[in-house]
């Protein structure tokens, strides 16, 4: 009885594998930026509903992996969220599909509402260590940053410029944990993707410009990074169709409703 059951389940599993591989679908793989990953998954779902003959797989890994796998062919489309694409990406066709603001956030108890770019740089460099130096209460600033290699961190450092992160800055490994840390510590400051701001943290104005969708789209808020889709060679066939879909008003609508900003 047991043997029969085992045999039956084995046959079923093998059957399932063969069946799922053998449907002759065209498949597209995306890999890279974890910031864009949830958006890519949502867009892929939408696209597959209207195009059942296409199978799209979305993987994370980070921007560096996105560039690497687009180069090596491990993924047809690489995703990267960097201000400036590195040297390795020079042979890839890059399409900007969305923009993402980077918000400087503090605890809601903090009275500060605005910082200049220079102040932001000095705080993260460790030149300014107390909130009273920028007009706040007399308290030590707790700087929270991302780990080396993060797309958000390298974009932040490139836009602000000349940041050598101070040594005792706390390091958190995702936008979500940055948000938790800042929400829990009244004297902390961090940065995260604009789409992830909620009521537990307070975004600051930078150079008197608010971090809102309107001000980012208008080009006033300066901490903005593009999100690239990278393809080896020129855009054609199903891959072009999918990227066109993302750039269409329907795709851009999805991106916008989930918290990122449209490409243009």
């Amino acid at each position: 009885m047991l043997k029969k059951f085992l045999l039956l389940s084995f046959v079923l599993i093998v059957g399932l594998i063969v069946w799922s591989c053998g449907k002759g679908k065209t498949s597209i793989t995306l890999a890279g930026s974890t910031a864009f990953q949830p958006f890519a998954e949502k867009l892929a779902d939408q696209y597959m509903t209207s195009h059942p003959e296409i199978a799209i797989t979305v993987q994370g890994g980070g921007s560096a992996v996105g560039i690497q796998s687009a180069n090596s062919g491990a993924a047809q489309i690489g995703m990267a969220d960097l201000v400036k694409l590195p040297e390795e990406a020079k042979d890839l066709t890059a399409t900007v599909v969305a923009q993402d603001g980077i918000a400087i956030v503090v605890n809601p108890q903090n009275k500060i509402t605005n910082l200049t770019t220079d102040q932001v740089r000095d705080i993260f460099n460790g030149k300014i260590n107390n909130w009273k130096e920028v007009g706040g209460v007399d308290a030590q600033i707790t700087v929270v940053s991302r780990e080396a290699g993060s797309g958000t961190r390298s974009s932040f450092e490139q836009i602000v410029g000349n940041i050598i992160l101070k040594k005792d800055a706390l390091i958190q490994d995702s936008n979500g944990t940055i948000r938790e840390t800042v929400a829990n510590d009244a004297n902390s400051v961090g940065y995260l993707s604009h789409g992830l701001i909620n009521e537990k943290i307070k975004p600051l104005k930078v150079d008197d410009q608010e971090c809102t969708s309107e001000s980012i789209v208008a080009g006033k808020y300066k901490l903005v990074r593009p999100i690239f889709l990278l393809v080896k060679g020129s855009l054609e066939g199903e891959i072009k169709n999918f990227i066109d879909f993302i750039l269409s008003s329907e795709g851009q609508q999805t991106i916008n409703s989930l918290g990122l900003l449209p490409a243009k």
Binding site: S63, Q140, T142, E147, A148, G149, K167, I171, E180
Partner: protein, 285 residues
């Protein structure tokens, strides 16, 4: 059974036993193969004793993380070992057996709680307490030590209890008959007789503390920083690997594997010291 036969069973068991060893060998080979070339290229001294860890500038010094790993482990020992040994003594010497049989499995249940839950409690409860009462960012060496100290409790307590209970009854009876109190019996007879087991329990706890990753990432703050006080944030060797692996490429990735090599060596050294210590005690006894 007849089908396989005595020799067949032996062979089967041998293959199974060797699979564990070969897994260890494969892991060691893989880490060394990925990490060692980097150490040669970058220079062992620079890698071990420089405190600059800036992967995007090509600077890879893990000295702060080695120091942090050792401090956090020491801190966890300071919290976990006294609590654990005292708990084990109380449970085995003062509490009736029927009650101990309920409490001991409950403590062992602590080991079944995933480390991410410990980390979460550390972030939500412990870090704010430290921040409000002692200052600093809260996510700190102290928080990491306390959380790890609690995490190693089940290991320390259950192995200590086992070794204390293994002390023959006649030892205690002899001591009590000579007029010693329970506490005199405990510290002059029971502890002495079960010393090697208690030390082994602490060392096993230490092994867990130095290898723990998730909880430490969540509560220690992860600054690449040589701590000046227990309230400073630190990054351990394990945290360094886990934090940066997902984004690392090229030289940075190799540097993380090299960090793994160093961690591996540190653990081997600690374990050897431990087993030598235990063996010496055994011989003395």
């Amino acid at each position: 059974m007849k089908l396989i036969g005595e020799k067949g069973v032996k062979r089967l068991l041998m293959i199974t036993a060797f699979s564990a060893i070969s897994a260890l060998l494969l892991i060691a080979l893989f880490i060394i193969n990925e990490g060692l070339p980097f150490i040669f290229k970058y220079g062992l001294k620079e890698f071990l004793f420089s405190s600059d860890w800036q992967p995007h500038l090509g600077k890879f010094g893990i000295y702060p993380m080695i120091v942090a790993s050792l401090w956090v482990t020491l801190g966890a020992m300071l919290v976990g070992a006294p609590l654990g040994v005292a708990g084990a003594l109380f449970l085995s010497e003062y509490v009736p057996k029927s009650i101990m049989n309920i409490i001991k499995p409950t403590i062992e249940l602590l080991a079944a709680i995933p480390s991410v839950v410990y980390g979460f409690i550390g972030v939500m409860v412990l870090a704010p307490i430290i921040r409000d009462n002692f200052g600093g960012p809260g996510l700190s060496l102290l928080a990491g030590s306390i959380i790890l100290g609690i995490m190693i409790l089940p290991t320390v307590i259950s192995i200590s209890i086992d070794s204390i209970l293994a002390v023959p009854r006649s030892y205690r009876e002899g001591s009590l008959a000579l007029g010693a109190t329970i506490w005199q019996t405990i510290h002059m007879v029971t502890i002495k007789a079960s010393k090697s087991g208690i030390i082994a329990s602490i060392i096993l706890g230490m092994g867990r503390a130095i290898g723990e990753t998730m909880a430490v990432i969540m509560v220690a703050g992860n600054s690449v920083n040589i701590p000046n006080s227990p309230l400073d944030s630190v990054r351990t060797l394990t945290a360094n690997i886990a934090l940066e692996m997902s984004y690392a490429t090229g030289l940075h990735r190799q540097a993380l594997f090299a960090t793994g090599v160093i961690l591996f060596i540190v653990i081997i050294i600690l374990n050897s010291i431990a087993s030598v210590a235990i063996r010496k005690r055994m011989v003395k006894k």
